[in-house]
C-alpha cells in the first residue's frame, strides 16, 4: 500500500474494485466503516458479484471479470472531459507536462513500434523528447500536442460511458453515477482511496490495470495524501516481506539480479544507477551502489573486498531474455528439465495454475523437499491416484512416479519469532510462544542444517564451483539455527568496524565499510534496539499514523510520496489532513519523503523516479506506455475497441499438451474464483474451526442460468474448462446478475477456492480449471475471468 489500513479512516470515498475487504480482510475493513461513520465517506463497490462489501456500499455496479481497464479508462475520460482532475497537483507532481518524441501513436489495438514478426515492441517512439542536457522537455501549459497530458486525453477519448457499458456489461447510468462520486475527490479538500486485491492482479493485463488506477488517483490528486493512495490488500501475513527480500530477478531491496552481460560490478552499477530526467529529480536510485555493495558485504563478508568486486562474481547471472518465474518454472518441470524442488510451505498442486499439469510436473522431478505444517496435495502428489482417482484419471499410479520425496515437519508462526510485514508496510515483530510439536524444527534450523551439510560436503569432496556456497557468509553465533534477532540486525545494516547499527540507509557506503541485508529496512533495528517491537499508543496527528507502534519501511514513513500532499509552496492541499508541510525551515508531520530541510521547489515529490514526478505515461511496461483494454485470453466476446487485437498481444501463453485454451462456443461462461471469510487459502481445510464453518465446496450460479439448465440449489453440478473439471453443489443466487455485453447476455459463475484432496474437509481443486496464461510484466497467472461450462450431474 502507498498508504495503509488505518489511513483508510481518513478518506471521503473508498473505491473497492478487484477486492472484497468486508469478507477477505474483515478487520482491515473496519477502517472503511469508520470513514463512513465518522466522515460520511462513500463506499463505491464495482464487482462481478454482489458480495458483502457491495452490501455495505453506497454505490454498487456489477461488471464483467476482466473488463476493469475499460471501466477505469472510462473514469479517466470522465475526469478529464469534465475537468474534475486536480489541475495544480497534476501540473506539479506528474509527468503530464513532459513531451514525447515524434512518432508515438496508437492505432487498431497496437502502439507504435509493433513488430508483427518478433511479436514485440520497439519502444523508441515511446521515449521523452530530451534537451541538450539530457533532460525531458516540458510544456507547463499542458497544451502541446505531444505533451503526456494531451496524448493521454486523446487515448481515453474512446472510453465513453456508453463504450464502458458495452464492454463491462453495466449500464451507462450506473457507470456515470459511480464516476460522479469517485471523481468528486479531484477537489483539493476531498480524498479518495482505492482498495484492490487479486481481482485486479490475476489477469493477463494486471500490471496495466493497476497502472490505470494509479493514473486515475494521480489525476484526482490522491497520491501521497492521507486518505488517498493505491492500496493493495495483500494476501499472506508476510507476502510483503517476502517480496521485499527478493524474487527470481530481484535481490533484497529491489535491486536487480545481475545479467550475464554485466561482467563486472562496475558494469552492473552503471545499469543500476539511473540518470535524472529533470534537474529537480532527486533520483534516489542513484544511491544503488551503496545498497549493492552493502548487500554484497552481508552476503560474502570478508570474501567481499574492493579487490574482487566485493564478491559480485559469486552471484548467479541471468540471461537478458530469461524468465524463471512460476509459470516458466513449472512448464520446464513438466517438460522434464528440472531435477529438484524445495518448497517452504508452498503448495503448487493447489496453487496452480492448471493443477493437473502441476501433478504431472512434480512427477518428473528426481527429488522433492517439502517443509510444512500439514501433509498437503503437493507433499502427497504421488498418491493422487489413490486420493483423487475420479478427479485425475490420467494421473500415474505411484509405482510409475520416481520422485524421491522428503516431508519435513516445520514450526508454525506461534513457534518462531521474527517480523511479519503487513499491507501497510508495518514490520511487526513477534515472539515465539511455544516449541514446535514432536521433533518438528523451526525453518531457520532446517535451512541452517541443510546449508551447513552442503557446505561440509563441498569442502570435503569439492564439486561444481564451490566458491559461491563456501564463501557465503554464515558466521552466526549458532550457525545450525541462526537467531532471527541476529539476522534482523544484519538486515538493518551496520558499520562493520565499530560495529554500530545504522539508523538509516543514508549511512550506507559503497566503499565496503558497511554491510546491509536490505537497505529498505535500515532503521528497523538500530543502536536503540528493535524498533519493530515497539508498542507506542500515541497518535499525535490523529490521522492513524501511530508512529511509535512497530516500525515501517522506508524510514518509518507511513504515507509514501507525502511531498505530494503539499503545493509548490509547501502548503498542504488540505490542512485538516496534512501529510507534511513546510514550516519555513523544514518539513513537519509524517516522516518527509524528501530531504527534510530542502525548500519546496528543490525536489520533485517522487524521489525514487528519474522523472522526479509520477508517471502517467510509463514506457517501462511491456505492452504500452498507456493502459489499453484487452480481453482475457479466454473471453466470451471480442474486444469492442479492436476485435482483431482482442487480448493482450504480449500475454505469455504456454502451449504444452495440458494447456489447451477454450472458446466461448464450448465454454460460454466466465469463471469468478474467490475466497470466503472463514477460510484462508488451502490451509484452513486442516483446521477444525474453519472447516466446521465452511465444510463444503459449492458453485454459485445465476438464477437465470440455473433456470435455463434446470438446476436447483443443492443439485450436483460439474464445471468444466479446457483443462479440467470440478464438481460440487449448486448455490443458485441473485448475487451474480447476467450482464449485457455488447448486446449479448454473459453469465458469470462463482467458484470459492479452498478445498483439495487432503484435509479435514475435502473438495475439488479449483485450479483444475485455470489456464497457464501470464501477465507479461509480472508473470502473474490469469486465475480469474477464464471460460467454463456448467452442467447438472
Amino acid at each position: 500500500m502507498t498508504n495503509g489500513w488505518t489511513d483508510v479512516a481518513n478518506t471521503d470515498v473508498v473505491l473497492v474494485m478487484g477486492g472484497n475487504p468486508a469478507e477477505n480482510h474483515p478487520v482491515g475493513f473496519r477502517f472503511v466503516m469508520e470513514a463512513k461513520r465518522n466522515r460520511k465517506a462513500k463506499l463505491v463497490c464495482i464487482d462481478p458479484r454482489f458480495n458483502r462489501t457491495a452490501a455495505l456500499s453506497d454505490c454498487y455496479v456489477p461488471i464483467r471479470a476482466g473488463s476493469d481497464i475499460a471501466y477505469l479508462g472510462g473514469l479517466i475520460h470522465y475526469a478529464l472531459s469534465r475537468k474534475l482532475y486536480h489541475a495544480d497537483y497534476v501540473r506539479l507532481h506528474t509527468n503530464a507536462s513532459f513531451l514525447i518524441q515524434e512518432g508515438f501513436d496508437f492505432s487498431e489495438g497496437y502502439f507504435s513500434g509493433w513488430d508483427a514478426e518478433k511479436k514485440s515492441y520497439n519502444k523508441s517512439t515511446w521515449q521523452y523528447e530530451l534537451d541538450s542536457k539530457g533532460y525531458a522537455k516540458v510544456d507547463a501549459t499542458l497544451e502541446h500536442p505531444r505533451s503526456v497530458f494531451q496524448l493521454m486525453q486523446k487515448h481515453y477519448t474512446r472510453y465513453t460511458a456508453a463504450q464502458v457499458a458495452a464492454i463491462c456489461g453495466c449500464t451507462a447510468e450506473d457507470f456515470s453515477r459511480s464516476a460522479e462520486i469517485i471523481c468528486s475527490t479531484g477537489k483539493p479538500d476531498r480524498r479518495g482511496t482505492v482498495l484492490y486485491a487479486l481481482g485486479w492482479t490475476q489477469h493477463s493485463h494486471s500490471v496495466q490495470l493497476i497502472h490505470t488506477a494509479a493514473m486515475l488517483q494521480l489525476l484526482l490528486g490522491n497520491i501521497g495524501v492521507p486518505g488517498g493512495g493505491v492500496n493493495a490488500q495483500r494476501g499472506h501475513s508476510n507476502i510483503q516481506g517476502a517480496t521485499d527480500m527478493g524474487g527470481w530477478d530481484t535481490l533484497p531491496g529491489y535491486l536487480k539480479v545481475p545479467q550475464a552481460q554485466q561482467t563486472s560490478l562496475q558494469a552492473y552499477l552503471k545499469d543500476a544507477t539511473p540518470k535524472p530526467l529533470r534537474p529537480d529529480a532527486m533520483n534516489y536510485w542513484s544511491n544503488a551502489p551503496k545498497f549493492m555493495v552493502s548487500l554484497l558485504k552481508s552476503y560474502y563478508g570478508d570474501h567481499a573486498t574492493k579487490g574482487n568486486d566485493f564478491g559480485y562474481h559469486y552471484l548467479p547471472k541471468i540471461g537478458p531474455v530469461d524468465n524463471h518465474s512460476w509459470g516458466y518454472l513449472f512448464d520446464k518441470m513438466y517438460a522434464g528439465a528440472m531435477e529438484g524442488l524445495i518448497s517452504f510451505g508452498m503448495n503448487p498442486v493447489a496453487n496452480g495454475p492448471n493443477s493437473p499439469k502441476m501433478i504431472k510436473a512434480l512427477g518428473k522431478l528426481k527429488w522433492l523437499i517439502v517443509a510444512e505444517n500439514f501433509e498437503t496435495e503437493t507433499a502427497a502428489f504421488w498418491n493422487a491416484q489413490k486420493l483423487a482417482a475420479k478427479e485425475y484419471p490420467a494421473v500415474d499410479d505411484p509405482t510409475r512416479v520416481g520422485t524421491e520425496v522428503f516431508l519435513l515437519p516445520a514450526a508454525c508462526f506461534a513457534e518462531k519469532d521474527g517480523a511479519f510485514v503487513n499491507s501497510s508496510r508495518w514490520v511487526q515483530w513477534k515472539d515465539a510462544a511455544v516449541d514446535p510439536p514432536g521433533v518438528a524444527k523451526r525453518d531457520q534450523e532446517i535451512i541452517g542444517r541443510l546449508f551447513l551439510k552442503l557446505r561440509e560436503l563441498y569442502e570435503k569432496e569439492g564439486g561444481a564451483t564451490p566458491e559461491p556456497l563456501v564463501r557465503m557468509n554464515w558466521n552466526y553465533a549458532n550457525p545450525s539455527s541462526p537467531s532471527l534477532e541476529e539476522v534482523a540486525k544484519e538486515i538493518n545494516g551496520r558499520e562493520i568496524d565499530s560495529p554500530r547499527q545504522v539508523s538509516s540507509f543514508g549511512e550506507l557506503k559503497e566503499d565496503g565499510s558497511t554491510l546491509c541485508g536490505n537497505w529498505l529496512y535500515s532503521g528497523s533495528f538500530t543502536e536503540a534496539g528493535n524498533m519493530m517491537a515497539r508498542r507506542g499508543q500515541a497518535d499525535p496527528t490523529g490521522l492513524g499514523f501511530f508512529p511509535d507502534w512497530s516500525w515501517n519501511w522506508p524510514a518509518n514513513r507511513r504515507v509514501l510520496y507525502n511531498r505530494a500532499s503539499a503545493d509548490s509552496e509547501g502548503k498542504p492541499w488540505d490542512p485538516a489532513r496534512s501529510g507534511i508541510r513546510w514550516d519555513g525551515k523544514k518539513w513537519v508531520g509524517d516522516v518527509p519523503d524528501t530531504k527534510a530541510d530542502a525548500p519546496p521547489d528543490n525536489f520533485g515529490a517522487f524521489i525514487m523516479l528519474r522523472e522526479g514526478v509520477a508517471k502517467l505515461f510509463a514506457p517501462d511496461f511491456t505492452e504500452g506506455p498507456f493502459p489499453e483494454h484487452y480481453e482475457p485470453a479466454e473471453s466470451p466476446v471480442e474486444n469492442a475497441l479492436h476485435p482483431t487485437v482482442s487480448s493482450n498481444p504480449l500475454a505469455k501463453i504456454f502451449h504444452s499438451d495440458l494447456d489447451p485454451l477454450g472458446t466461448s462456443k464450448d465454454y460460454p461462461y466466465v469463471a469468478l474464483t474467490y475466497r470466503l471469510t472463514e477460510h484462508f487459502h488451502y490451509w484452513t481445510k486442516h483446521v477444525k474451526a474453519s472447516s466446521a464453518l465452511q465444510p463444503r465446496f459449492f458453485v454459485e450460479l445465476p438464477e437465470e442460468l440455473a433456470r435455463e439448465k434446470g438446476i436447483e440449489s443443492g443439485n450436483r453440478v460439474r464445471v468444466r474448462s479446457a483443462r479440467g473439471a470440478v464438481e460440487g453443489q449448486a448455490l443458485v443466487t441473485r448475487r451474480v446478475r447476467p450482464l449485457k455485453v455488447n448486446g449479448r447476455v454473459v453469465y458469470q459463475v462463482g467458484l470459492p477456492i479452498h478445498w483439495g484432496f487432503v484435509g479435514r474437509v475435502k473438495g475439488p481443486l479449483i485450479n483444475n480449471l485455470s489456464p497457464s496464461v501470464l501477465d507479461p510484466n509480472s508473470g502473474t497467472p490469469e486465475y480469474k475471468g477464464f471460460l467454463v461450462n456448467v452442467e447438472k450431474v
Binding site: T6, V27, G28, G235, S237, I239, G241, A242, T243, G246, G247, W248, Y299, Y314, P316, G319, H324, W326, L329, K332, G340, F344, G345, M346, W367, E372, F374, N383, V401, G402, E404, F406, P409, C412, F413, A414, G418, A419, F420, V421, Q428, A433, V434, D435, P437, A440, L457, Y458, A464, P468, E490, I491, D539, F546, T677, W683, T684, H686, V687, T780
Partner: protein, 191 residues
C-alpha cells in the same frame, strides 16, 4: 481508574470489587476461573491475511518442570491500533491451527515408486537431501555461459515459499539460494 484501562485490568478489578462488596455469593454459583488466569502471554501476529492483527498467545506449563508448554487460548491484542483486540473468524480459530492433531511431528520419506510414507530421522534426511542437492548441482551448474562469461547459475533446481515466514527466514533463504546459484526462486507474491 487509570486513564488507559485494558480489558484485563477491568476484569481483575471487577473481581476484586465483587469480593469486597460483601455480597453473599455462597448461595449463587461462583464464576468459573478465567482459563487465562495463570497463563504466560506472548505477543504475536496472525499468520493469515496481511491486515497484520496482533494476537496474544496464552500458554500453560511454561513455568513447570516436566511439562510441555501448550497453547490454551489465542485472542486479539487490545493494544494494537490495527485490530484493537478483535479478530476475524479465521483468527479466532488460531489455537486450533497451532494445536492440531494433523500437524506433522516427525520427518517422512517417500522412496521412488513407493505407495506410502516411511519415517526417517532428521540426521538421515539431512544427509540424503544434501547428497541429492549436491549431485543435482554438480550435474547442472553452469560456471560459464556459451560466450565464456562467468554466470555461476543453477537452472535445474527450484526453491519456492516464504510468504508466511518472517523476513529473517526469507533473508536466510536468499543466502541459501545464492549459495547454490538457484535461478527459479519464487513465492506466493507473484500468484
Amino acid at each position: 481508574m487509570p486513564s488507559h484501562l485494558t480489558r484485563r485490568m477491568f476484569l481483575q478489578t471487577a473481581g476484586t470489587l465483587t469480593a469486597a462488596s460483601g455480597l453473599d455469593l455462597q448461595a449463587a454459583t461462583p464464576p468459573r476461573e478465567l482459563k487465562i488466569a495463570h497463563t504466560t502471554q506472548t505477543r504475536s501476529v496472525c499468520p493469515y491475511c496481511a491486515v497484520g492483527c496482533s494476537v496474544v498467545i496464552h500458554t500453560l506449563g511454561d513455568k513447570a518442570r516436566n511439562v510441555t508448554p501448550t497453547v490454551v487460548h489465542v485472542e486479539g491484542d487490545p493494544e494494537s491500533p490495527i485490530n484493537r483486540g478483535t479478530l476475524c473468524s479465521k483468527g479466532i480459530g488460531l489455537k486450533e491451527f497451532i494445536v492440531n492433531d494433523q500437524r506433522l511431528t516427525r520427518p517422512l520419506y517417500r522412496a521412488p515408486g513407493a505407495a506410502e510414507w516411511t519415517p526417517i530421522s532428521w540426521e538421515d534426511a539431512f544427509e540424503r537431501m544434501a547428497r541429492l542437492i549436491k549431485h543435482t548441482r554438480d550435474r547442472g551448474f553452469e560456471t560459464e555461459d556459451a560466450e565464456g562469461r562467468r554466470v555461476n547459475r543453477l537452472a535445474n533446481v527450484g526453491l519456492i515459499g516464504g510468504c508466511t515466514d518472517t523476513n529473517e527466514i526469507n533473508f536466510l533463504l536468499s543466502k541459501f539460494r545464492f549459495g547454490l546459484g538457484i535461478l527459479s526462486y519464487e513465492n506466493q507474491a507473484r500468484l
